[in-house]
């Protein structure tokens, strides 16, 4: 869509596009450690159902995903795999960093083999703190991301400037 990248899309259409994008996120879960279980509880259990927010879990591959939720400790050995996974996702893509290990290294801040935060490797949109964060906290993080998407200026992505949330 040439109109979107060049910024010539009329405002109501852009708004409609953003709203439909925010309610149709296909979320890939990169569940590494304990946070993966809470993410599983959020995504797959009937109590903290994430599908009511419009987010569908379990895409078949990262090439079909909009959102990746990095849940758990990222080690230096795994770091190349995380970067490769991020590069496989098509634009526009979003990253949620879930749990303190993915945010900043967490309880293993002084370990010799842990990457102190996944934002050293890939850009992160939303950080969900907790160890592990409750499923409701992850849902709140997803809602925050949805608000961000709703106010997003799609053209800014293609221009390469930092994305500003109004």
């Amino acid at each position: 869509m040439g109109l979107v990248e060049s910024g010539k899309l009329p405002k109501p259409l852009a708004k409609l596009l953003n709203i439909s994008r925010k309610y149709s996120i296909w979320a890939y879960q990169w569940g590494l450690a304990c946070c993966a279980i809470e993410m599983g509880a959020a995504f797959a259990s009937p109590r903290y159902d994430v599908m009511r927010l419009g987010v569908i879990p379990f895409p078949a591959s990262p090439r079909q995903a909009d959102l990746v939720v990095i849940a758990g400790t990222v080690t230096d050995k795994l770091a190349p795999a995380v970067v490769r996974l991020y590069e496989q996702m098509p634009d526009p893509k979003y990253v949620i960093s879930m749990g303190s290990c993915a945010n900043c290294g967490g309880p293993y801040w002084d370990s010799y083999s842990v990457t102190k935060g996944v934002d050293q490797l890939i850009p992160v949109d939303v950080y969900v703190p907790g160890c592990p964060p409750r499923p409701e906290a992850l849902l709140e993080g997803i809602i925050l991301l949805q608000e961000r998407i709703a106010h997003e200026d799609m053209a800014a992505r293609w221009k390469g400037e930092p994305i500003v949330v109004s």
Partner: protein, 391 residues
């Protein structure tokens, strides 16, 4: 070649001979299959490099270390209560169970005994964490073999146990509730009745899993006779827990070498073994163990003594010099901590003997000659948690 008279066998043999003749004309190479660090069937970031010949596995080499967080080095710079908060995250499904052997080792060195009420509650929470852990295994194993329904039921019914753990300790996972000398807090009001209800629901869940999985023809076909581990091999690799009992070895650390501080002898329960040693045996033993754990909890809930939950220990814990090894029967197997202390706030060396490390080391031996789908069955039935392998 034995003489066969049955015409069906003869035609089968002829077909096979024809097949082999055809295969000789094809020059095929072995293929290397990489079940990479991210895979739905590995419980976390395990990488398995399998060399295949057609559909058969020639060798399957697991590569660990994608979740290695350096626990043993980190324990050398943390005080005992800080370590307690950290080691919850080794086996992250049955978290309370990770704290117990470490606390018992420190208590052994300090020569402190927790009061009876604390011992009862510790054992109850230990068994509840076992129920929480293995119920996810049952659901997840079904999921890996293709029966997705079981997974959703497991997540739903686990919530009952997690609710109970949360109302007592404050955390669904990683309770960090055990302290040297007892527990952090006493139980809230009404917890005992609610736990009874939760355990009844879990017993119903076990019956449901049995209906869904065990009798299923596909399940039986995929697990019977697959991945047989004889008892001698199991012992020399150091397999423990349900893996060992499913190979016929009647050994349970709760009954046979229970460390002082846990009160398994106050309940009436049974150790389940199975002589076969295949994937089905391991699953079946775990199913029975979950039921047994729920029954232990119910019995202990009725007999909790009253009293304090914390012995008198100094506010700043310095453990006297010495070495101690305490191992308990964790949900995954035998987990032990070898604590070397020099009389300081901080231990000198802690060697963590985690169950899954030994459980997975048998994979190269078991996987020879198995088919690729059997590899999934074997992995699933050996049941490991990556945090436990990689520490």
């Amino acid at each position: 070649m034995t003489a066969v008279s049955d015409p069906q066998s003869v035609s089968a043999l002829v077909a096979e001979a024809n097949d082999n003749r055809v295969n000789l004309d094809f020059e095929t190479e072995g293929m290397t299959l990489n079940m990479g660090p991210q895979h739905p069937a590995t419980h976390g970031t395990l990488r398995i490099i399998a060399r295949l010949d057609g559909e058969q596995v020639i060798s399957a080499e697991p590569m660990c270390g994608y979740m290695h967080r350096g626990y043993e080095k980190l324990t050398e710079v943390r005080t005992y209560p800080q370590i307690n908060a950290l080691i919850n995250r080794i086996d992250w499904l049955g978290s309370f169970a990770n704290e117990v052997p470490f606390i018992l080792a420190a208590e052994k060195l300090m020569d402190v005994e927790a009061p009876p009420r604390a011992q009862w509650i510790r054992t109850i929470l230990f068994e509840m964490s076992r129920v929480a852990n293995i119920s996810l295994f049952l659901g997840d194993f079904g999921l890996q073999l293709g029966g997705m329904t079981a997974g959703f039921y497991a997540f739903r019914d686990r919530e009952w146990v997690l609710n109970q753990i949360e109302s007592a300790t404050g955390g669904r996972f990683h309770p960090n509730f055990d302290r040297i000398g007892g527990l952090k807090d006493d139980l809230p009001k009404g917890w005992i009745e609610e736990s009874h209800t939760a355990m009844d629901k879990l017993l119903a869940f076990c019956d449901e899993m049995e209906d869904l999985l065990v009798g299923n023809e596909i399940f039986q076909g995929r697990t019977r006779g697959i991945g047989v581990i004889p008892a001698e091999i199991a012992l020399s690799y150091g397999l423990s827990g349900a893996n060992l009992r499913a190979s016929g070895v009647d050994w349970d650390l709760r009954r046979d070498n229970c460390p002082p501080g846990l009160v398994y002898d106050k309940a009436d329960w049974k150790v389940w073994t199975h002589p076969d040693g295949d994937c089905f045996a391991r699953t079946w033993v775990r199913l029975q163990e979950t039921r047994e754990a729920a029954k232990i909890v119910k019995q202990l809930l009725d007999t909790i003594p009253s009293g304090p939950v914390m012995a008198k220990v100094p506010r700043i814990i310095k453990v006297p010099a010495g070495e101690a090894y305490v191992a308990t029967e964790n949900p995954l197997g035998e987990m032990g901590y070898y604590v070397v202390s020099k009389g300081d706030l901080v231990p000198f060396r802690v060697k963590i003997r985690s169950a899954s490390f030994n459980n997975i080391s048998v994979l190269p031996w078991v996987a020879r000659g198995a088919y690729v789908p059997d590899l999934i069955s074997i992995l699933g039935s050996l049941y490991f948690i990556l945090g436990d392998i990689d520490r």
